[in-house]
Symmetry: C2
Subunit: 442 residues, 2 copies
Amino acid sequence: MSERVIKIGLCGFGVVGQGVFNHVQAKAKALTDQLGAQLEITRIAVRDTKKARDFAVADGVVCDDPMSIAQDESLDVVCELMGGTTLALEVCSTALKSGKVVITANKALLCDYGPELLKAAKDGGGHLLFEASVAGGIPIIKAINEGLVINSFSSIYGILNGTCNYILTRMANEGLSYEEILKDAKDLGYAEADETLDVQGIDAAHKAVVLAYLAYGRWVPYKDLFVEGVTKVTQDDIAYAKENGYGIKLVAVIAKTRDAGKLYITVLPTLVPLKYVLGRVDGVFNAVSVRGDVVGETVYIGPGAGRDATASAVISDLVDAVKTLVCSSKNEKVPVFDPVPRCGCDMELAEPEEIESRYYLRLLVQDEPGVLAEVASRLAAYDVSLASVSQKEVAEDASQASLILTTHMTTEKAILDAIKNLEGYECVDAKPFMMPIGNFED
Amino acid sequence: MSERVIKIGLCGFGVVGQGVFNHVQAKAKALTDQLGAQLEITRIAVRDTKKARDFAVADGVVCDDPMSIAQDESLDVVCELMGGTTLALEVCSTALKSGKVVITANKALLCDYGPELLKAAKDGGGHLLFEASVAGGIPIIKAINEGLVINSFSSIYGILNGTCNYILTRMANEGLSYEEILKDAKDLGYAEADETLDVQGIDAAHKAVVLAYLAYGRWVPYKDLFVEGVTKVTQDDIAYAKENGYGIKLVAVIAKTRDAGKLYITVLPTLVPLKYVLGRVDGVFNAVSVRGDVVGETVYIGPGAGRDATASAVISDLVDAVKTLVCSSKNEKVPVFDPVPRCGCDMELAEPEEIESRYYLRLLVQDEPGVLAEVASRLAAYDVSLASVSQKEVAEDASQASLILTTHMTTEKAILDAIKNLEGYECVDAKPFMMPIGNFED
């Protein structure tokens, strides 16, 4: 095998970019030995060329114009590790249209512009690889796309945001409020200075959209997801979970409805039975459970973020790219394999009245006679029937009570309509808090 | 993309072979759409051509001579799903030497003849793929080989035999003896008529050898493994485990010693802390924990056996093969990628005095004064120091007692030498039973 040189450009040299650079350099010989090709990072675009960095880069490699890398005819592979969805889109599209392999970890970009990017790849003969975009170091995209290639999927459940899982785990272990743990998580670097994308569930939702595309071949617009973050979880909820054998996790559900087989995606704080493996995945770890019609359930657990875990995933794409490039002769274009053999592109989205679950509701109510009866009857009006009820005094204000209800199986529409109705009831003092009660056994 | 036809021969049409046939037929269109190539199973070798089968096969496809399939020039891919290591070796070697892709689920074959098979592949330009050989439907080989390609590994822990895990789980849940559960497992089809390969740990050891090759590039001879099955586990052990927060699992450890970095493989019933995810993987499920220097720990859980789970893995290899074949032009040989980028081929094996663990010991002793003191002093003579001691009367025979000891950190050599010494002590009535106490936290 003649030793080919694969030229790589990095757009973005922050935490992940430096991780990729570091590990590719450190294991250059092993990679060359395996691949019969040398991996050379010949260009790097940074935001500020004057900034000091952890890793020494040869002269002439660094620039501050990622577009010049996207357009560089000498490059085989471009890694987009800048983040954002404006310049990143331009960089990725340009590189794909010119037939390059583009590797990205940018789930927001994929969520918003997945179809455009894949079209650019198809038109230009490029490849789009994005293992690092979901669940960090866990090779979940490779598992779904290749390892489970013969499967159709009934559901994917994912703990996809390490920051949320870290906060929920510490809240459960330490009995402190969301706000207290968030502050500490920021101090320790487990949460960003602006935590919005993480704690509101937006980051997990981006990842869920990517998983849904892989499993079902359809890019679901973000607006069609039901997304709620972890900011409203309280110690009342955690106490209930502990007493009843649950863990609270921010769970992304990407699933087909049982009867009609329509697709839905929700990202919600969820009561997960502790006997189920996802209920015990704690701290910054991510986990994904995938149910295939051939294989059954497989579960993947690992670090969902961090410089090295993400670099590990980016480099797995890089090595796949090199294998493909080495396979192809110079004159012949390598065929682009559509990552989706599962022909679901025309899959319908489920309506809220088709999505079924049991639910947990926490209401702050006036501690007056008749309130519970009224709440129950308002729920019943939407066919929401109660499985359990518990009421506790609120310590600070004896005129209020925390009312925790769980329902039997009902629909998302019914529970949301019922909640809306309860918001209009003068004895309910704050917006009710709702979580699905996960049934992951089937 | 012109639609190429990839011709496939199946050697073996038992449970797994029929599973592969079924799913490839059932999803033929989706596969063709994705791959731009048609997958055609044109030949099948069976043991008895007259036997009735679950799936209809076209005329002229079935024969009873697998070697004729291995030699068939018209075939691109041969799936060896016969089992055994004699004819299977001949079939695989012949097909590989003629440049075919060979897919096998045969861990015994890989364990005994891995180097020969890889050499045949290299010499002949063939490819050897074996995703289904370890952990059934879990794409663990793809994960290690591709997803974690940039990682060096410090350890792999695996629950690799579903039958053993099923038996241990039911023993723990139902309080019955090994023999009782085994009998029932056979009746229910969870254990083979001849259970030896499974319950003695041999099957798990074969898989451990394959994983060790993938992670460290070295084929460790079976004789260099320390293997013990689950046949000697009793309700005494299970009671101890429950009281102390452990699960008993048959765990394969493929790891490097901390200081010298030497490789060792053990397959032993093991006390696994319940707070660690592997401690709670129950029933027929398999699980593998992989620690990489870049990514950290990732864990994979799923069905370790069964027609469909195994077929899922075989077909993932098949699709990979098709991608590679489609990539290569007719005239040009596809490069064979060595699955091991980790250059450990010259890695030394650890000696028993270099392997460290805490251990659990159960002894049947004469219930006489001084016995415990003598046992402790004999252990101390090998520098084995005790962490805990508990003694219980044996119900059937009050003159005997069950003595359960746990040790502080010591070496495999020390504990084995000490056990040998204890076997020579007239007050120890049966061969002591030993399990490592797993420390999976680092």
